[in-house]
């Protein structure tokens, strides 16, 4: 781990509140003052990206107290997954983080595969990587569009959603659904890559770098955008690590850490990409990290395409009849296949006893999945380490002594998805 040198503007020491690290308490000298105003923000507010509630104490325009309240979108995903067979439970993680659905699906499937110790064909690995990176672009586009909208850069939203549509069209081409594709199976992919996908994807890869240039032209030299984002919502490297921050938030604080490079999964060790790191820990640097990541993701997608185009007639899923559904056409001719199909669909495959904690670099940071199996057809316990949940723990530190007007920019820059926070 290396920490890049910071501009002198970043603070020294720790700004994490005490005794509770996630609650900013009104300073002693202000308590009981008539100038204090408590504002309730949310849970239903268009700029909280879901149902986040913040209780804010204001002194003039300055935030002096902050209490983040969550749980308004708790849907019991983890409890529900315990009641479903393994292969049915794969649909749930996508809905936990409904913006980076394929990454969440991926981490759960990887966890099942680690317990099963099943070999995944290389075509599936590269296709998963391609889709995970497209999904990262999609997620960052949604972030950039909505965050721009909140700060008054309204046209940003339309530009971002134009490219987002293109990504969703690619997902639709692959899996038949625009979101929540459920394209990953334990052992590989649900279906082969459809004809025509590579051509369409190439078009997107050629177009995307120009689109990112366009976004930068829209905001990056816009004085309003710069003043609203620079030196706002500061978080130092040591505070970011202590608060468990990950992904773009961590890298914008100058910590050079990316699971794709530092703990490679899939085939990330075989592709060339740069990890975007910025030193100042403000909203602007978080924006910069995400812009750079969109470019790098496009490069990774292009490299995946180069490899995948040479794997045309290779298998896309492992040939393990105890886990993987047999090919559809065999059901009419083979008794064995029919039995396997029936057993997997009705009872589900059994996953050997054990526990694993699998992590991937999702668009929001370290997405972890802790899975316990008792050897039966259903997960005993599934727990998601949601990067957004942890990101919200940093609100009190980031918002310390900031102006109320900056709050939207700061909360937005943490890029939280409430479905994932509340699970």
């Amino acid at each position: 781990m290396t920490v890049a040198p910071a501009r002198p503007r970043i603070y020294e020491g720790s700004r994490i509140p005490s005794p509770v690290p996630t609650i900013l308490q009104i300073p002693e000298e202000l308590r009981g003052s008539d100038d204090l105003l408590q504002v309730n923000f949310g849970p239903n507010h268009p700029s909280t990206h879901g149902v986040l509630r913040l209780l804010i104490d204001l002194h003039g325009e300055t935030v002096v107290g902050l209490h983040a309240l969550i749980g308004y979108l708790h849907t019991g995903f983890e409890k529900n997954m315990e009641q479903k067979t393994w292969w049915k439970a794969i649909t749930y993680p996508e809905r936990i983080d409904y913006v980076s659905f394929q990454n969440n699906e991926l981490v759960f499937v990887l966890a099942i595969e680690q317990l099963l110790e099943i070999e995944v064909p290389r075509k599936a690995t590269w296709m998963r990587m391609l889709l995970a990176e497209l999904n990262r672009i999609h997620s960052h586009l949604v972030w950039l569009g909505t965050s721009g909208l909140e700060l008054g850069a309204i046209s940003m939203f339309w530009y971002c959603f134009r490219e987002r549509e293109a990504v969703l069209d690619l997902f639709e081409l692959v899996a038949g659904a625009r979101m929540h594709t459920r394209y990953f199976q334990a052992g590989g992919l649900a279906e082969d890559i459809p004809r025509g996908f590579f051509t369409e994807c190439r078009k997107f890869v050629e177009r995307m770098p120009h689109a990112v240039d366009e976004y930068e032209q829209l905001v990056d030299r816009n004085q309003i955008w710069l003043e609203r984002t620079q030196d706002v919502g500061l978080l130092s490297a040591s505070d970011a690590i202590a608060l468990g921050q990950s992904g773009p938030v961590l890298r914008a604080s100058g910590v050079d850490w990316d699971l794709r490079r530092d703990q490679p999964y899939l085939a990330y060790g075989d592709v060339d990409f740069r990890v975007a790191v910025y030193p100042n820990g403000d909203v602007y640097d978080r924006y910069r990290v995400r812009m750079d990541e969109m470019r790098e993701s496009t490069r990774i997608v292009a490299q995946c395409l180069d490899r995948l185009e040479q794997m045309d007639f290779e298998p896309w899923i492992a040939d393990d009849r105890k886990v993987v559904l047999p090919p559809r056409e065999e059901l009419h001719t083979s008794m064995e296949s029919l039995i396997h199909h029936f057993k997997i669909v009705t009872e589900g495959y059994r996953v050997p006893e054990g526990e694993v904690y699998v992590t991937i670099e999702s668009p929001r940071g370290e997405c972890g999945c802790y899975v316990v199996s008792d050897g039966g057809p259903k997960p005993w316990r599934v727990k998601f380490r949601a990067p957004s949940f942890v990101a919200l723990e940093a609100t009190a530190t980031c918002l310390r002594e900031s102006l109320i007007a900056d709050m939207i920019a700061i909360v937005g820059s943490l890029d939280t998805v409430m479905g994932e926070v509340d699970r």
Binding site: M1, T2, I16, P19, V20, P21, T22, I23, I70, G71, H74, G76, E78, K79, N80, E82, Q83, Q114, L115, E117, I241, A242, L243, G244, V255, D256, W257, L259, R261, D262, Q263, E347, R350, E353, G354, E355, V356, Y357, T359, E366, G368, Y370, V372, D374, G375, G376, P377, K378, W380, R381, K383, R385, F389, V390, L392, E393, D422, R423
Partner: protein, 185 residues
């Protein structure tokens, strides 16, 4: 039994490796000491996650999950889908898993610290070691009912403040809670 570098972790009980992951089981009383040691001596500066797990009914035959009934929370019928073999028994009902990470470029290392607890047995808070533990521990209390000793603000986090029971426990059924604002209440 082979010697490992984890034997000297304070309160060390056992170490096991599975699926390429190392788990260090420590005594409940020396958890904070062990975490301090791992953070300072082994560079585990990053707490990735805390997970509480309920193992009620774990090694009983023909039980692989509970299902709730509409009659109420107390009526739990074990499901009938059987297991091929019994899993190895666990020492106590609850496990607290602390997933640690050492941020080393190109060589990220992980470690799981595990503590075993009976129902209602408190676990010391690791907030002084890693501030990020705050919400994770509140979630463990809210969802599993693990009392965390010394936590600065141990309140419910996902469920509402007056909620009864801890939803992720195995004896808490799905579909068993009363429906609000209905005649059934």
């Amino acid at each position: 039994v082979t010697e490992s570098i984890w034997d000297v972790v304070p309160g060390h009980v056992e170490t096991y490796e599975a699926h390429g992951e190392t788990t260090v089981v420590v005594k409940r009383e020396s958890l904070v000491e062990a975490c301090d040691y791992l953070r300072d001596e082994h560079g585990f500066s990053f707490l990735s996650d805390i997970t509480a797990t309920d193992y009620l009914g774990w090694d009983r035959a023909a039980v692989s999950g509970y299902i709730g009934t509409a009659q109420g929370r107390d009526l739990n019928e074990p499901m009938t889908q059987g297991l091929q073999k019994l899993p190895r028994p666990k020492p106590k009902r609850f496990a607290m898993n602390y997933h640690l990470l050492a941020l080393r470029r190109g060589d990220g290392r992980r470690l799981r610290v595990q503590v075993w607890l009976d129902d209602g047995e408190p676990v010391p808070s690791v907030v002084p070691v890693w501030p990020t533990a705050d919400w994770h521990e509140r979630e463990a209390w809210d969802m599993m009912g693990i009392p965390v000793e010394g936590h600065p603000n141990l309140t419910r986090i996902l469920m509402e403040d007056d909620w009864e029971g801890h939803p992720l426990r195995k004896d808490y059924p799905i579909g068993g809670e009363p429906v609000r604002f209905s005649d059934a209440e």
